[in-house]
Amino acid sequence: MSRSLISVPKTAKTGEVVDIRAMTAHPMETGHRMGPNGVAIPRNILTRLTCSYNGEEVFAADFFPAISANPFVSFSLVATESGTLTFEWTGDGGQSETASAEIVVS
């Protein structure tokens, strides 16, 4: 079950700078915390977010243990052509989460 919130404008004009937001549900456990009875909680974080615009990578971010739970990322993008924005989060243990959104450029 994907729990990701993607905000991409549905339509844009060619060359317009649009605001993109992406948030996904993740505990981002740092690995530095103790659980009950002093047992260390193993590290479990997302390490990278990439965003592809019609297959071409246009944005990427590396995440580290200081990033809060449910990481929220916002960036801008020049709308050049209609198509799909695909987001992929990868994390510890090879986990991967994807989400996508369509944009119509006129």
Binding site: M1, R3, S4, L5, S7, M23, T24, A25, N70
Partner: protein, 257 residues
Amino acid sequence: MPRPAAGLLALALLTAPAAAQDIPPAERRSGRDFMAPATQAMQADDTSNPGMLWVLQGEALWQEKTGAAGRSCADCHGAPASLRGVAARYPAFDTASGRPIDLAGRINQCRSVRQRAPALERESDDLLALTTLVAHQSRGLPITPPDDPRLAPARDEGRRIFTTRLGQLDLSCANCHDQNWQGRLAGSAVTQAHPTGYPLYRLEWQGVGSLQRRLRNCMVGVRADPFAPGSAEFIALELYLMQRAAGMALETPAIRP
């Protein structure tokens, strides 16, 4: 030796009137009004409000067939929007058990009676997600506690708990939230304790939590032994708090620091 600030607070509490003075309706404020503008903006925008992640999860669970009956929430209720206004009326009186029941309890009851599925654990992500989804349908509607005389004894009990001093610090809820809501405690605003946005996303928790979890926090804070999750005491307190907040708009999922 107590620090000056703690001494002043203790002095303020000692000199405060013994009986709880209710906050006049015109002075009632949601916890949202005590937050920084940046946090308010985070709550107002659904694309930046992390509570919406739980609403999304709730929507997926809503469609999921489960239990021995193999039914989903959608099979009986249709779209989640059909439950608009429901959360504003809870806790309500449950004729089956003859006791008041809160929203999370009602969802669990629906699971065990209609879906014949095991009850979800209190504060589990799944139960919080379903409760958040249902409460989200009532966003913007005024809190309207049911006018049911059978709820009156529990509501009075809630008021009694609210005004009774508890724990090693010997403080009642009313000492802070009725008498000193203008003040601050350890740099944080003391709010008026109106449950307008539950279940809500608390930045401190890095997740969504219920009103009962928040009440538990306060009880641990005054070094009292917290009531059990889903207990009659918590539901009574919840009933009284919703009565106090009657007419205020629901904000679920709210954000709090």
